[in-house]
Amino acid sequence: MKLVIGIVRPEKANEVLEALYRAEVRGLSISRVQGHGGELERVETYRGTTVRMGLSEKVRFEIAVSDEFVDRTVDALREGGRTGEVGDGKIMVLPLEHVVRIRTGETDHGAVTPVGP
């Protein structure tokens, strides 16, 4: 199994979600992060204080999948998240040794929804 982490633009999050649903990836967790990459930095001013904002809002997807699902998951993240402008984000694939479903205690393949064949 693998853990797929995808970092995308907030305004693309819903499209990514739908792409993942279509790819029948059913289980996932997301969270708000702030990222730095090639994006232009913003300048903001608060009274006399002027700052360079080096980080921009992103949404982080964390998806545990069985091996057969890795590619379609990555593809879904790419389709859904792409705008073509700098700042679209990254996808990372990490090895995953075990997964446990807390409710049932099922492990590994049994635990990743949907269960692989």
Binding site: P10, N14, L17, E18, Y21, R26, I30, T113
Partner: protein, 437 residues
């Protein structure tokens, strides 16, 4: 304004008196909103809306019940226990002032109505985070007819306490003891939240708490200061005391907080503002500014004690309405019996000024008010419980009542929200399946 309307003065109405009572009425109405901010800061984020809505609901339900019968039951003549139906459906409530008043009758009706609204909203503090919204609506509808008007009649409507000589300027009996002991009964009947006593259930936004308390204090100047129904000694004294008493209560609370844990808490400060305002509510027009400051110090102790002690009990009277209103109001009512000063109020002296009788009258009020508020509420809610569920399931509590009862969240980011009904039907995109279900 429209040129066509007349601007003639109203016979028997003093424009200055009325100007102040109008401002006061708006301020008291605003208190119910401030209470919503205060209460919603005190609960967890997943119940912030439900809690605020319980205050907004009082503005809807109680205003109507007040217009239909509440006002008449409170201020219609009649026995010593309750008024009558002469003014039901606003019958005979017009521009002409009530005997002995200098403001339009209709304004008096509205001013008093805002008191009943606020009191009903106060009660919600006892049952937030678990009581369903619909039963709550039914409860305050009944409560605002069966309980508040009766207690208001006792002291404001020429009822037996007023006749007997009990002094209650702005509502120690119906508003403060009324809400406080209703809250206790409600908490007992509805029962504790599922995690009460096992987990820490903490306020989600303390800035709201301070802002809400601030709005309440602001409004209380109208609440107490307007209760003189105009520019007169009683009103002026109550107004100024509404500045002095809460300040002294705050300072004392700071001290107790510091002694207790070396930290002066903001939630405590918000609470102290309420306690101080409540303490002076019944006494405002009857005691000197100096005694008002003393009252601010004295009222702090019993309320602080109850606030610290209550969570150690099994009684989940969640937002401590009993301590902040019931006990503070009761203390205020009793202290009138000691501090009242005819030089200032032209009405009666208290024990310290040589008249022991008053203390008895005050003690009577401090006895009957809690009994009636607690008893009647206990009966009403117990009856409602036998008819149907008044609280949500454990799962509802876990999810939070904002979602279960209002279908909303207080703070939404929008991720994962799929439009169901929209301009272009989302058909073009495959609707998300709901897997596993």
């Amino acid at each position: 304004m429209n040129a066509l309307t007349t601007i003639a003065a109203i016979p028997g109405v003093d424009s200055g008196d009325t100007a102040w009572v109008l401002a006061a009425t708006a301020m008291v109405m605003f208190m119910t909103i401030g209470l919503g901010v205060f209460y919603s800061g005190l609960v967890r984020a997943k119940n912030a809306l439900n809690t605020f809505m319980m205050c907004v609901a009082a503005l809807a339900v109680v205003t109507i019940s007040w217009a239909l019968v509440g006002y008449s039951l409170a201020f219609g003549d009649g026995g010593g226990f309750v008024g009558n139906f002469d003014h039901a459906f606003l019958n005979g409530v017009g521009f002409e002032p009530v005997e002995g008043q200098t403001i339009p009758h209709i304004v008096f009706f509205a001013f008093q109505g805002t008191f009943c609204i606020l009191t009903a909203a106060l009660v919600s503090g006892a049952v937030v985070e678990r009581m369903r919204f619909l039963p709550y609506l039914i409860f305050i509808a009944i409560w605002s007819v069966a309980i508040y008007p009766v207690m208001a009649h006792w002291v404001f409507g020429g009822g037996f306490l007023a006749e007997g000589g009990t002094l209650d300027f702005a509502g120690g009996v119906p508003v403060e003891m009324g809400s406080g002991f209703t809250a206790l009964a409600a908490a007992l009947v509805v029962g504790a939240r599922k995690d009460y006593g096992r987990q820490a259930l903490l306020p989600h936004n303390t800035v709201y708490i301070l802002l809400g308390a601030g709005i309440l204090w602001f409004g209380w100047f109208g609440f107490n200061g307007g209760s003189g129904l105009g520019i007169n000694e009683a009103g002026m004294l109550a107004f100024v005391n509404t500045l002095l008493t809460p300040a002294c209560c705050l300072a004392t609370w700071f001290l107790l907080d510091y002694v207790r844990g070396r930290k002066i808490t903001a939630v405590g400060a918000g609470t102290a503002i309420i306690v101080g305002c409540v303490g002076i509510t019944p006494a405002g027009a009857f005691i000197s500014p100096a005694w008002a400051m003393a009252l601010g110090v004295l009222v702090t102790f019993p309320c602080y004690a109850v606030i610290v002690w209550r969570p150690r009990t099994r009684v989940d009277e969640t937002l401590d309405v009993l301590a902040a209103h019931g006990i503070a109001g009761l203390t205020g009512i009793l202290l009138i019996g000691l501090f009242a000063q005819a030089d200032w109020n032209a009405v009666a002296d208290g024990l310290l000024y040589g008249d022991a009788a008053l203390l008895g009258d005050q003690a009577l009020a401090a006895l009957v008010a809690p009994v009636y508020a607690f008893g009647a509420t206990f009966v009403i809610l117990t009856a409602m419980k036998t008819v149907g569920a008044v609280r949500g399931s454990e799962r509802d509590e876990a999810v939070g009542l904002d979602v279960t009862d209002h279908g909303e969240e207080a703070y939404v980011t929008g991720e994962g929200a799929i439009l169901i009904a929209s301009a272009e039907p989302p058909s073009e995109r495959v609707p998300a399946p709901t897997p596993g279900s």
